[in-house]
Symmetry: C2
Subunit: 342 residues, 2 copies
């Protein structure tokens, strides 16, 4: 059975959300969870879920917590006994196979990278987000914020890692990989995209060329690559727009009695709609390229997002994503060397 | 009365959309329109709107049209009698005060820049898009695609131009200007944003610091600045997501008879919602920094988008946006010189 270490003190509503998500996860999936944080607090929170003594949940004590205001560098230097660091150490030591955190994203990423280390051959880990599409499938967007300024080689590695993730975790057959740009034509784009395109063409994967922002939600591509600045802006823009649209719709639907009645009659449609555009549904964003597994959740995640993230962490570990990434990267390195020898 | 030259052969449904939008505009606003394109075709299309002889609409002949597939550089070189070029020339010659085109965006921007020229002091014109927000007001996002790779100085000019546009056209008092980044903290961002922040702080305008993708739709900021690659990706992502959400909602609402009935009862709510998130509503994106006025519309724009773009072009000309931009830029240049002297 896969064991997942959960940073139970990270999120906006910690440890309530983390504990509720963990209890639900071990009841639903074949997974063990280690909750990491203040032992007394976690024990009290766990007790609220009735008799949990038979569940595969363990508590490991950590005396400190990193807040959303802490800088990643300072947190790493000063808070050696933080919940996220202790949880990451459990993965590094092999007591757990994956880390899940809804805490300070920058600190969690830096911790996983340093404490767990990187998969051999990886230049920089990257954050991958699964975006809901019209086709009902998810499109992987990466990097969504781990690396602000990127080199062409980093983007090539993102393509390789994203393709493996889509194939193993999202079960996509021969994932179509696109490069996020501002037009389908190859010459359109910025300095970075123009430098990356020829490299992506040389990869042994299904590269479909430049794609545009629109393609994120059409489901026409399975993996979309960009630098972490663009990806993060796109992700937050999308979340902001989805929230704004939901709020505008709610306002419009509650303005008159007739509209309210209409809403009541069509309620299942709204529930279905909400589920389809819910960015919490995939559960979290994996930091691809670190040893072990690291899944980052929104600070405001509800328990079901934590539950889903724990499931994804377990699948990631069981599916051998990192071994695949290592193999693909070394294949690419070999190709590069061969090209240089010619 | 302001005269607007409309490239009548540019859009996906040209000249139908352009002519319908022009007829509606001159009937609704105090504006004159010159339709530019194949004279026989335009005359025939105009005749479909009944007796238009008393309307302030003129036709100017242009024998060629630029297609969506033409490259901007080639079109400029080879198609000297294209509808967009002839229309732009009318502005350069003072026969019209503004140009509106729903044609090839790259070609229209390049044509306006070369034929109409630039406002003194402007390094590069930039495309500004008005985004609908939850507050009911618009937030100006720029650049959305005119300049793919930008220098810090270019972004400073975008801030100055966007502020003037928001103040004069959108009637915002003391517009709040933000820099699009991936966190509110100043140190977060990429090389470009970190270089721009200190420059923006030195401007005599209401700079509020870094903003995130979420802030685009909250209405918390009035002008958001970014390079044209990021802006274009954000714009197209937003359009794609809005379309996807509308489609998912429509699917969900037509799945059962009860939902359909609910939809009928609440129909005015959906009409209101659609209007609020309609990216055609503002009518088009002005290319700020060119002499005269240049408003770029979506190729797929409906007639009302053209109508609104003609109104915005007239307001832009009448409001003296360019004179304001020129003054603000020379004030900034003076400040820079003063800083160097110290």
């Amino acid at each position: 059975m896969v064991t997942v270490a959960v940073d139970a003190m990270g999120g906006d509503h910690a440890p309530h959300t983390e504990v509720a998500g963990a209890v639900d996860a071990v009841r639903s999936y074949d997974v063990k969870v280690i909750l990491v944080g203040r032992e007394d607090v976690l024990r009290r929170e766990l007790a609220r879920h009735g008799d949990v003594s038979s569940l595969p949940i363990e508590i490991v004590h950590a005396s400190e917590r990193i807040t959303m205001e802490d800088s990643a560098a300072k947190a790493l230097r000063n808070k050696k006994d933080s919940s996220v660091r202790v949880a990451s150490r459990l993965v590094a030591e092999g007591r757990a196979q994956g880390l899940v955190s809804a805490g300070n994203t920058g600190a969690a990423m830096a911790t996983a990278k340093i404490v767990q280390g990187m998969v051999p051959g990886v230049i920089r880990p990257a954050l991958a987000s699964a975006m809901p599409t019209m086709s009902g499938r998810y499109t992987v967007l990466m990097d969504v914020g781990a690396n602000v300024d990127c080199t062409p080689k980093m983007l090539v590695q993102f393509a390789i890692m994203g393709e493996v993730y889509s194939r193993i975790i999202l079960k996509t057959e021969s994932p179509r990989v696109g490069l996020l740009s501002i037009g389908e034509e190859e010459h359109k784009g910025n300095e970075l995209t123009r430098a990356v395109t020829p490299l992506l063409k040389g990869l042994p994967l299904n590269f479909v060329g430049n794609v545009e922002g629109r393609d994120l939600y059409s489901g026409a591509v399975d993996v979309i690559i960009c630098d972490g600045f663009v990806g993060n802006v796109v992700l937050k823009t999308s979340e902001g727009l989805a929230d704004a649209m939901r709020q505008m719709l709610t306002e419009a639907l509650s303005a008159t009695p007739a509209r309210k009645l209409g809403y009541l009659l069509a309620r299942p449609a709204f529930a279905e709609f909400k589920r389809r555009v819910d960015y919490y549904e995939p559960g979290g964003a994996p930091l691809l390229g670190v040893r072990g597994v690291c899944i980052i959740c929104h600070g405001s995640s509800p328990p079901r997002a934590l539950k889903n993230a724990i499931r994804v962490a377990a699948e990631y570990a069981a599916g051998g994503v990192n071994r695949q990434i290592e193999e693909e990267l070394s294949r690419w390195n070999a190709l590069q060397l061969a090209a240089k020898v010619d």
